[in-house]
Assembly symmetry: C5
Homo-oligomer: 326 residues x 5
Amino acid sequence: EAPTVPDAQRFGHSFKIIFKMIWKHSLVFLICYFSLTVLYNFGLDEEQVRNFEALTSYLARYTRTFNWMIMLGFFTNTALQRLFTTQMTIPGTDRITTLFTMSLKPNLPEGPAIVDLYARWTVLAWILTFRIICHPLRREFPNLQAIQDSGILLEEEKRILLDEDNPVTVTPRPLVVIEWMLLLLKESMKEDRYIKESSHIKNVEAVMAFKKSCGNTIKNIPYAVIQAVVLVVYWFCTVLTMARNLRAFKNEFVRNIISYFPVMPYIQFFVFIAWLSFGRAAVNPFGNDESDINVMQLCEAHIKHSFRLKNLYTNNLDEDVFRFLP
Amino acid sequence: EAPTVPDAQRFGHSFKIIFKMIWKHSLVFLICYFSLTVLYNFGLDEEQVRNFEALTSYLARYTRTFNWMIMLGFFTNTALQRLFTTQMTIPGTDRITTLFTMSLKPNLPEGPAIVDLYARWTVLAWILTFRIICHPLRREFPNLQAIQDSGILLEEEKRILLDEDNPVTVTPRPLVVIEWMLLLLKESMKEDRYIKESSHIKNVEAVMAFKKSCGNTIKNIPYAVIQAVVLVVYWFCTVLTMARNLRAFKNEFVRNIISYFPVMPYIQFFVFIAWLSFGRAAVNPFGNDESDINVMQLCEAHIKHSFRLKNLYTNNLDEDVFRFLP
Amino acid sequence: EAPTVPDAQRFGHSFKIIFKMIWKHSLVFLICYFSLTVLYNFGLDEEQVRNFEALTSYLARYTRTFNWMIMLGFFTNTALQRLFTTQMTIPGTDRITTLFTMSLKPNLPEGPAIVDLYARWTVLAWILTFRIICHPLRREFPNLQAIQDSGILLEEEKRILLDEDNPVTVTPRPLVVIEWMLLLLKESMKEDRYIKESSHIKNVEAVMAFKKSCGNTIKNIPYAVIQAVVLVVYWFCTVLTMARNLRAFKNEFVRNIISYFPVMPYIQFFVFIAWLSFGRAAVNPFGNDESDINVMQLCEAHIKHSFRLKNLYTNNLDEDVFRFLP
Amino acid sequence: EAPTVPDAQRFGHSFKIIFKMIWKHSLVFLICYFSLTVLYNFGLDEEQVRNFEALTSYLARYTRTFNWMIMLGFFTNTALQRLFTTQMTIPGTDRITTLFTMSLKPNLPEGPAIVDLYARWTVLAWILTFRIICHPLRREFPNLQAIQDSGILLEEEKRILLDEDNPVTVTPRPLVVIEWMLLLLKESMKEDRYIKESSHIKNVEAVMAFKKSCGNTIKNIPYAVIQAVVLVVYWFCTVLTMARNLRAFKNEFVRNIISYFPVMPYIQFFVFIAWLSFGRAAVNPFGNDESDINVMQLCEAHIKHSFRLKNLYTNNLDEDVFRFLP
Amino acid sequence: EAPTVPDAQRFGHSFKIIFKMIWKHSLVFLICYFSLTVLYNFGLDEEQVRNFEALTSYLARYTRTFNWMIMLGFFTNTALQRLFTTQMTIPGTDRITTLFTMSLKPNLPEGPAIVDLYARWTVLAWILTFRIICHPLRREFPNLQAIQDSGILLEEEKRILLDEDNPVTVTPRPLVVIEWMLLLLKESMKEDRYIKESSHIKNVEAVMAFKKSCGNTIKNIPYAVIQAVVLVVYWFCTVLTMARNLRAFKNEFVRNIISYFPVMPYIQFFVFIAWLSFGRAAVNPFGNDESDINVMQLCEAHIKHSFRLKNLYTNNLDEDVFRFLP
């Protein structure tokens, strides 16, 4: 009865995500920061103290005057908008399998078997595509045998996909499966299984749209862009551990605040690391992070849907579901 | 005769929205601010005053040099653009029900009942989808019984949706209803109820587009992004209550202004909280806020529309609406 | 022979727009600014002068350090992009009426009357929709009688739209008209007036797209966002009239420039007010401003088009327009 | 054999574009700058020198503290994205004419004449549309006679377009031509010239899409926005010629650099003027600038294409093009 | 079994990309920087040292106060979003060739030859288009002979494309090939080779979409924009080699850090050059860079696909691929 999470829980959950995202970095940051504080207070002679103060204030100047935030803002903005587009255009199996099921003449003897075959192949093409970009799915299905064990792939199909001598196998595997689907459509047309012949081309077009959508999923923001942003943010955070404008504050109380309660540098650090993390997650939306698109769940949903489809073909509303229909 | 609100009223109304959005935060901000002023003026000895002045000017420096606004600007910009996309792509029930009604042969004896069934199921799928993301709707319809009481769900349908032993129920409920709709389309085709057979696939495609649109509605900006932004803005506002650059102003008059009329910090505070609120509302556009998409009103409109549809099927323009037609 | 305005004229025209947009604000700004200058130079004793100088330099610091421009930049950027989307997706009547006209069999005796009816209703639905959001159109058509006077609405139709006892009238008026159009489509199908039966569904889909487009036009940027931005910009401009960094400039000449020729503050003021105005106009693109979408002109064009349509139905290219055709 | 320009040439070419874009402004800037330098060094008495130094350092402060760049950045960003959308959605004549040609039955005796007529009218509608917004095209075709001379318009058609008494002429001319096209489609349907009757509606929809695309081309960023940005940038550049922070630099060498080698102000000036020029060009993409969309070339391509179409209708692949076909 | 690269490798790979992108610039930057350091420390007399210090601190002021980053941020943002659009809309050959193959009646004797012809011409049009914008592809296919050698072009076709006297050749070559395709479609219709006649128009529309997509690929961000940004970034980096705020730091240790370990200027330099490189790569996405779209690989994939298509036409699922079908 409760498909949605209560808000308080969701609130706590998202803090957990932020915490998981940031605790390692925070630990390193704070250890470095306090080590430098200890060094400054107890480990340096008078001239070294002067040098330390001069150097840290020189660095503090750089953390303030260069617009690091602008670069990161543009990057994360671009990445998030990319994420939304990906969310919207991620390929689904439901549309094409339902369309095929509904295009077939009802009461064909071979109907259920064909619907089953088509739905299974769609899911198979989907899994073979997402294995290329999605780590968790690759861990779930490390090889074709694992896919066969889950019932998505038959022995004979695996043999064809693996057959090295077969000239077909030089093509990417998802494309092989999509070609089987097209051949099945052709056969359905030849055997006169469609309600209307014009459905044939509609189904072909749906398969081609599915294929294009699979292809688009693989394209992504060039990895080197992310690497460069990561480098710069880490560099900035390193400077941040050192930067402290001690010479500008003669007041002992403030100097202690700066040395032992670095709340202001920490919040800067927090903004940068958190913002970077979201940008990274948005750039690679099929990973392990909790804010990523949950491909495993999607995969299960697609498998379930393919099982339900047989019912859609065989059931009749008035006999199998309801009795009150007109 | 006046479907639009006069501008003056709308002006006042939007101020009310802003006021409601901000008054609690403002109160806390001002209490903190003035408490610190009182503390500074009456509660500290001379050295504490010096420390206070030093600390607050240290914080004031941070409120000026770090580009907090850029982060918030990018966040709210991303969120608002997301909101527009959501507004445009929010699923509606009118298109698919009208399409179905107009595809049927006129004068079928079972026609009105079928149109009614289809329209009701569309609204049902819509409500079951929006209950997942929309608090007010979940409060309106806390369980299936509430939906049944409003006449959208029949006893027998509820039984099927609730039937735990039925293998169908492991699927999300909106999908179950959408499958009923597809079965009804199949039946209409088998019973030869369409004016043209080709309408069958058109209706199937319309249902699949409705389903995808429902699915997209649930996707959203990762909640952790918002949480991180909220954290940072609250942190900034906390610093803002403390930051006051008293040492830079020897003039007693300005020091009093800073202490007792914090208009400049308050406007900064206002910008941040207001901007954050819009970003938050845009991220979760189906909430309770007055600037949110009014899902309850949409729901009512969809229900009303589904009732009107039967007229669309049975009425004739020249007999039931006008008499002057050619 | 000259449908485009010469550039010089257009140049002058756009200055006129800017001037109209800004002159009232400019006047208030300059009066405040010079009043404060006069007060400072002639109305204050020595201590008050010191206080004035201290206060104004305190405010001047805020106009420089806080990134007001970023907030406004993001707002206007969002609003302008929204405006382009609106421009592109604004509903038009031509497509659906032309489609209907061209779908009908030529030489039907009732053809011209039906085309006329359909075209008129489309314009009627368009006007009833835009009256909700567009002030100039509401002033042109304050009530249904005004629409009837312009010949777009018949007496009998008005009666139905106004009939309070009729259960139809609880629906929004544009929807009532759209239902008439759908009924007319149904009748055309039943009376076998289409060239091809498949045109029926095409026309239904076109009407539904028109309806959705009308619905989208009403959605807009939450009014409270604009209000908040307006508040902040006015606040900033108030501060700008007071802010003057007199103490930083001992030189008498510069002090006079600052006091009597506030060109630098004025250009800041100009940027803010102009930018805000464009943002506002973009947010409410159907208003009275000269840079707004000219709905009145659009409305006229749609009405004219609906009159031309009858010719499109009855005319033959070779008899009524040209004689040289093959 | 070389349809692409070598890179070196392209490099030089783009420098030429930048140079052409900026040399006049640069000249004025540098003359003003050096005049002020000469005035300062040789034309002022001691007190005037002090005033000059005070004033220029007051202005220098403004060039640094106000975020002029942000406003310009947002403006050019918005304009460039608009340009890309325009590039993608610019109406083309190929699609609709090819579609019509391929929809006709082959071997109609009147076929070539009709294809020719339709293709010519499409180009005519295209030219009449772009004359409204594109200066070079209006110079090429100052009136209907010029269009007739190029063979796109016949005497009789011109007469109709010019006929002031004809009630048709109150409609915009491109729309008149589009109506001729629709009438030709209707006639083709009546005369049973289509391979399949369903092509009729497809062609009508293609013409309506062409019409909408023509309409969208005319819409643009409000001219007043550009004017306001131009005003502000020119104002900023004027300040830039005066601003020089001489008092902050006691060193004679740096003062000479500032006075005689204003490379740093010039690069600021360059960024602003170049950025503004791109923004302006993007806002009015059909102008004379070398980075604009080359409408003349497009126009020629469309005219050529319309001539080729007759071949597409009459030629047979196996007889007229190749001999080796199966 | 491993179509994806391990992450560690990918990590190293992207560093290599960044390194390749930046090492030449870095070398020049560091050589200039250290040369100036050596000059300052050993090559100047006392007054020259003072001048040097004054000049470098004057430049340092400019690197901090002008918002160079904003310009670059907007530019790279615009360019990256353009890149994503290009990635998504890049024309592919699969859709149209598969559609044609599946539209033909099975078992036509001339079927395989026609499918082969159509698929080859599609690839040919694709290659002729991308040769215009893509250097690597032009190096692979420097002239038509090279294309013929790879088997994509026949002798007779090459002759037609090269025939200078033939009036056809004034049209761009990709368009000539697309016209052959349209003629082939027309012939297929005349010879009654389609399963359904309505497929004819579908195929024509698919070819027109392919043509438009090819045309869009050639359009790009005006080259002069990039040139202007490059100029400004190089200028900024030149200033960066000179700018060093030596006078602000009396401390010898910090002065040595500034002179010999320019880590802070270098990271600024790194951000600018890296960001610029990504912007440039995104603007010209079909070049040689490793982060560019790999057109050569795409080309191979399209050629392979065209070979596979004959199988799709001739194979039967139950005879040639599987034996277990219903």
